[in-house]
């Protein structure tokens, strides 16, 4: 389920970094509030735990085996906030040191496995095992939570990959990133998880949670915290993410004179007067001229010199 770099367009990666930024902020603040200084080592060790249990292959009848993702166990045991942070740390370590999942795709991977998976597992487990639940209801609740969680994460991954040929292709229609459309990517991700990996995750999670409860080690960092902000946040995301991904047309606020006229019914006089007054040193990166390639190279050279100058000035100011 770890999406490597090169599978998602940079625009999609940016969207998911944007989505995860408030989730990380919210989760770190909530964890700090509920756990205090214990939060840092707890999240790090929760992440290390997930990393290690992913090393074990869980045996299933028929001589085959599969490994756990671990997000559901973390969501149920540590609570959603600490689980978001711990899973993000695991994914960060895997991306940086082991090449398992991309650095640019880190935001998308975190959305699937550090947000969707533990939060949905937590919510389902809370609903099924609410009140004075017995051992069987807890076992069943954990299994159902893990099955739903891993399948939701797989579905999200399938949708993200399947959208790529729609949103990132050449003028001839050739896909620039993951080449499979939704009708192939979604079943390819969903079916193995519905039939095999979901079952492995469900069984393994239920057994681990049962042992955890038997040993009396239930932390659930978010127990005292209200889930309302998270649910509202997730609800808004669910509504906005597909729109953002498939949105075509001019970015908000970058309208031209004609588009603004169509939108407002009139063109503001300032826009009428000043649009096009300053065309830049190399307008449209030099696309208008016949020496397009050379101008592009010069633009890039100019940009890199400017960036180095900014870094130099910043480092000088920082020293003072």
């Amino acid at each position: 389920m770890h999406i490597p770099d090169g599978y998602l367009s940079p625009a999609t990666c940016a969207v998911f970094y944007g989505v995860m930024a408030p989730a990380w902020y919210l989760a770190s603040k909530k964890t700090e509030k509920t756990l205090g200084v214990k939060g840092l080592p707890l999240m790090a060790l929760g992440a290390a735990f997930t990393f290690v249990i992913q090393m074990f292959n869980f045996p299933v009848p028929g001589g085959t085996s599969g490994h756990m993702a671990g997000g559901a166990v973390l969501g149920i045991v540590l609570g959603p906030w600490a689980a978001i942070m711990a899973m993000s740390l695991t994914l960060g370590l895997q991306a940086l040191f082991f090449g398992d999942g991309g650095i640019l795709a880190f935001g998308a991977n975190c959305f699937n496995m550090a947000l969707v998976m533990p939060v949905s597992a937590y919510v389902v487990f809370k609903v099924v095992a609410s009140g004075e639940a017995g051992a069987f209801r807890r076992f069943f609740g954990a299994a159902l939570a893990a099955y739903i969680a891993v399948n939701l994460a797989a579905l999200a991954t399938g949708i993200e990959l399947g959208l790529q040929p729609l949103i990132a292709h050449t003028a001839e229609g050739r896909a620039l990133y993951a080449p499979y459309p939704l009708n192939i990517a979604v079943p390819a991700m969903a079916l193995p998880h519905l039939l095999f990996f979901g079952v492995v995750e469900a069984l393994a999670t239920a057994m681990v949670v049962s042992y955890v409860l038997k040993m009396g080690i239930f932390v659930e960092a978010g127990r005292k915290a209200s889930l309302r902000p998270l649910l509202v946040f997730v609800g808004v995301l669910i509504a906005l993410v597909p729109i953002g991904l498939i949105a075509a047309g001019t970015p908000w606020g970058e309208w031209g004179k004609e588009e603004l006229g169509q939108l407002l019914g009139y063109v503001p006089s300032g826009v009428e007067r000043f649009e096009g007054a300053w065309k830049g040193v190399l307008p449209d990166y030099g696309q208008g001229s016949g020496r397009k390639a050379l101008l592009y190279v010069l633009s890039a050279l100019g940009g890199s010199v400017l960036l180095v100058a900014v870094v130099y000035a910043w480092s000088r100011l920082w020293k003072k």
């Binding site: 770099d5 090169g6 700090e32 090393m55 942070m85 040191f97 650095i103 057994m207 990166y285």
Partner: protein, 289 residues
């Protein structure tokens, strides 16, 4: 004096009564998965000792920022020539910096092979319609399909090679120092903690597996293995939480109040500005090609 002789049973070749002492490789799920993962993990952790070279001596924050720009450029380029140039440049850099092309290939190969396998069906007309090139078992390979799949594999190869070169030329301590100056201190400190505790927990997992192996005469079936897995996972979680408690108490006793402070960054030299300039040049170039 009575002659001492060994009993017959001691002269017989030992039968494999205990898998741990038999010398034979058991093909169980635990041996397979744990040993493979633990060795990969230890190799990655041992990579803190990097060979000395020009890339290795770059200031970590500048090096990380430069690599990020190059990875972003590789993801943005629409021209295969530029992506290929980036890949060739990465391989050349690995040779120049004494990281070596072979270790680079070893690190990048899994992602490349996985992508090649995944991209293979894209060559057929049912995924990528276009001009027919050849037929295989009733399926048509299209020119557009072949170019789409090759382009996809090339892009992933370039990015995987860049990420591998970053790890190969950066010592563990430098990596976290660099991250600490680019990311909020809390995240880099938590990542560093995770990195360190992974090794401790892996040792615990390996110890548990070895203990089970030395106590087991014969395989007891899937149910027993599942139960063992669940109990050990819960045990590792318990150990994690206990360690977290102890670590937090140790931190508090040393004056930790919840804020992670990072040491002030050192000045950037000519090499760092050159590296940033070159990587940002590729980044800006990627907007046009």
């Amino acid at each position: 004096m009575e002659k001492m002789t060994l009993p017959d049973w001691m002269k017989e070749a030992p039968t494999a009564v205990c898998p741990a002492s038999s010398g034979k490789e058991r093909k169980g799920f635990l041996d397979r998965s744990l040993r493979n993962f633990a060795s990969v993990l230890k190799r990655a952790f041992a990579s803190g000792k990097t060979k000395d070279g020009p890339m290795q001596n770059l200031e970590p924050r500048a090096k990380l920022a430069g690599f990020f720009l190059l990875i972003l450029a590789a993801a943005l380029f629409e021209s295969w020539i530029f992506i290929l140039a980036l890949l060739v440049m990465t391989v050349c850099l690995s040779a120049m910096t004494k990281a070596g092309a072979a270790p680079l290939l070893v690190r990048a190969l899994p992602a490349i092979v996985f992508t090649a396998v995944m991209a293979a069906p894209a060559v057929f007309s049912f995924v990528t319609p276009g001009a027919p090139l050849a037929g295989v078992g009733g399926l048509t390979i299209t020119a557009e399909g072949v170019s789409t799949a090759l382009f996809f594999v090339l892009r992933v190869s370039a990015i995987a090679a860049l990420a591998a070169l970053l790890v190969l030329t950066t010592a563990e301590a430098d990596f976290f120092r660099g991250l600490g100056r680019l990311l909020p201190g809390f995240f880099s400190a938590a990542l560093f903690f995770t990195f360190k505790y992974c090794l401790i927990l892996v040792k615990t997992a390996e110890g548990a597996a070895l203990a089970r192996k030395s106590r087991t005469i014969d395989s007891r079936g899937v149910k027993e293995a599942q139960r063992w897995f669940a109990s050990r996972a819960a045990f590792i979680l318990k150990k994690s939480l206990n360690t977290a408690e102890e670590v937090s108490m140790a931190m508090v006793s040393r004056g930790f109040e919840g804020r992670v402070a990072t040491a002030p960054a050192g000045p950037l030299g000519f090499a760092e500005y050159l590296w940033l300039g070159a990587s940002s040049f590729f980044f800006f170039l990627s907007f046009g090609f």
